[in-house]
């Protein structure tokens, strides 16, 4: 029952989202971009928030997803461009890359893990940009590769077509959004459901235990490296899916989506929104991308302002926007339950522990 309510509200939110941002300068295209990138942020959050792994190389999965999807349409199967095949090949390829890279990095900790993922991302950038340049068009990137229509049983849907016209007052018009948004919203819904299910699942429970106390987890008999590898590959696959959607949506991909900038964006989006929260990564992605869009239209100093926002969130909202809100609510509840639960005799050793 609670699940049903959750999913109904999530669906409602996704339906209203592109129209709700209309009065503040948002538009259907931005809403679509936010959800596409948000999928990668959700994946990144599974990695950082639940597995405790800070990857600085997510751009590799994102970029490769975009390239493989577009190449599937333009080079691998140009006679029969197929939307689903492009997505499937991109996600499969990226997952395999994630397995290979993951096996080399998951035994590393902290800065070493971050640096090695960064190094792999830089290598993939170089490979795409220089080594396979006759396939990837090097510096120019892939351009003008129209997304194949979405084949759905007997139907074939042109995702770039707008929805029927219907005036919605201050919230714009129904035709402001394209079928792309509808499709991406459905995928996002699935990804949110998956993320929620995973974090509550047996796998998510063990992942949380490993994050909380890795040594104890090793000595109750969990194979730490395999858990981390699985989280790394799941995050990689979601990032690859996000990249594939981005490539097909933008009809182009250039090497700059494989740079550190892109990797850093996922970190910023997730941390701003709230690590370890279900909607935080999506919220952070939306917030930062919206500001990026609105502010960069007015001034060149966007990077500076982005930096300031990041600093302010870290300083004043540790745990991110959503994380801080949730903590505040949980905190109020905890004060009450602690008071009910803890007798003075029990409280004493706990206090001693805290001052130790």
């Amino acid at each position: 029952m609670k699940d049903l309510r959750f999913y109904a509200l999530t669906a409602l939110g996704l339906v209203l989202f592109p129209f709700a941002i209309h009065p503040i300068g948002g538009y259907g295209g931005l809403a679509t971009q936010i959800l596409i990138v948000g999928i990668a942020s959700i994946g990144f959050n599974l990695l950082l928030g639940y597995a405790g792994l800070l990857s600085y190389g997510q751009a590799m999965f994102y970029g490769l997803g975009a390239y493989v999807a577009l190449l599937t349409v333009s080079r691998f199967f140009p006679q029969h461009p197929n939307f689903w095949l492009a997505i499937a090949l991109a996600v499969t390829f990226v997952s395999l890359v994630a397995v290979a890279v993951g096996m080399l990095v998951v035994r590393l900790y902290g800065i070493y893990f971050a640096l090695l993922t960064l190094a792999f991302a830089q290598m993939s950038y170089f490979l795409v940009f220089k080594v396979f340049d006759n396939l990837t068009q090097g510096d120019d990137g892939l351009q003008g590769i129209a997304s194949p229509p979405l084949a759905l049983g007997p139907w074939s849907i042109d995702l770039t077509a707008p929805l029927p016209a219907l005036a919605l007052g201050p919230f714009g018009d129904l035709s402001d959004i394209h079928y792309w948004y509808v499709f991406v919203a459905i995928v996002t819904f699935g990804v949110i459901a998956f993320s929620r299910t995973l974090t509550r699942s047996q796998f998510g429970e063990v992942l949380g235990a490993i994050r909380e106390n890795e040594e104890r987890s090793r000595f109750v008999g969990f194979d730490i490296a395999r858990y981390k590898l699985a989280a790394f590959v799941i995050a990689g696959a979601l990032t690859g899916l996000s990249g594939a959607l981005r490539g097909l949506y933008e009809t182009s991909a250039a090497p700059d989506i494989l740079t550190v900038d892109t990797s850093g964006n996922f970190v910023i989006y997730t941390v701003v929104g709230g690590v370890q929260t279900l909607f935080g990564p999506l919220l952070g992605t939306g917030l930062v991308m919206y500001l990026q869009n609105v502010i960069s239209a007015k001034t060149d100093a966007w990077r500076l302002i982005e930096g300031v926002i990041f600093v302010l969130v870290i300083v004043f909202l540790p745990g991110g926007v959503l994380g801080t809100l949730e903590k505040r609510r949980a905190g109020r509840r905890n004060i009450v339950t602690n008071a009910l639960r803890t007798t003075p005799a029990e409280a004493l050793p706990a206090a001693g522990e805290a001052t130790r």
Binding site: Q202, E205, E212, E215, G221
Partner: protein
């Protein structure tokens, strides 16, 4: 080959320093064995070799006749070798019950499970194993307390309960009563005696009264090697053991 666990020429070198060398050690099933020795004798290194926390540089370890020298820590736990840590090692943010539940889950599911859809609550036996472990260490009343809020002694007993929830055949206890009050020591003493009826127990301890009282036999380590082995009475009467404890480790060089 009656031993449940035995080592042959086991050693661990850190650079040029031999923390353990040439250890031929063996425990019978059901035995309660204490490992003692002066500070720096290599007791903890020896336990770390047995649990798989560190890798041996020499020799072999056998568990129930199988060579486990190269097998990683989690796999040894799965086979039935569990350990409680010198400093209580628990999940501080989880409830006492959940601490044991996680260990019981590891025992039930194995090393890894890619169950990303269903919750662990569907696994019936897990709760039961956790409850049993808590009852054994007498912490059932604190099941819903946050583990980080437990007193020092209770935390150490919770660490033992976590090890028990992996359903071990052999339990390694590294200084189980260190830092405990006298009442807590008595309680833990009774607990260990009870456990020894169910499984093989190996313990490192400095509390001589306790060791002499509860051990079936004692192994004395000195300078990384086995100095003596025997019943508590034999160890107490052994002049070399007395020398090692009283004379310090420079004795042999004089």
């Amino acid at each position: 080959m009656d031993a449940i666990l035995h080592t042959m020429g086991l050693g661990k070198r850190f650079g040029h320093f031999a923390a353990n060398s040439d250890i031929n050690f063996s425990v019978r099933p059901g035995e309660l064995r204490a490992v003692i020795g002066p500070n720096g004798a290599g007791k903890t290194t020896f336990f770390n070799l047995l649990s798989g926390l560190v890798e041996a540089t020499d020799g072999e370890i056998f568990f129930k006749g199988d060579r486990i020298t190269q097998i990683a820590g989690p796999r040894r736990v799965a086979r039935g070798i569990a350990k409680a840590f010198q400093t209580a090692n628990v999940y501080p943010e989880e409830s006492v019950f959940q601490n044991c539940r996680l260990a019981a889950l590891a025992h039930t599911q194995g090393l890894f499970s890619l169950e990303v859809f269903r919750r662990s609550t569907r696994l019936g036996g897990v709760d039961r194993i956790a409850e049993e472990a808590l009852e054994l260490v007498d912490l059932a009343a604190f099941a819903q307390t946050r583990a980080g809020d437990l007193s020092h002694g209770d935390k150490k007993r919770l660490d033992i309960a976590i090890a028990l929830a992996t359903r071990p055949q052999i339990l390694l206890l590294d200084e189980p009563v260190a830092g405990m009050s006298i009442e807590e020591v008595h309680k833990t003493d009774r607990l260990i005696r009870g456990l020894a009826k169910r499984m093989t127990v190996l313990l490192i301890e400095h509390d001589m009264n306790m060791i002499m009282g509860i051990s079936d036999s004692i192994t004395v380590l000195h300078q990384g090697k086995i100095l003596a082995e025997g019943t508590p009475a034999e160890i107490r009467a052994n002049p070399r053991v007395q020398e090692a404890y009283l004379g310090g480790h420079t004795e042999g060089e004089l």
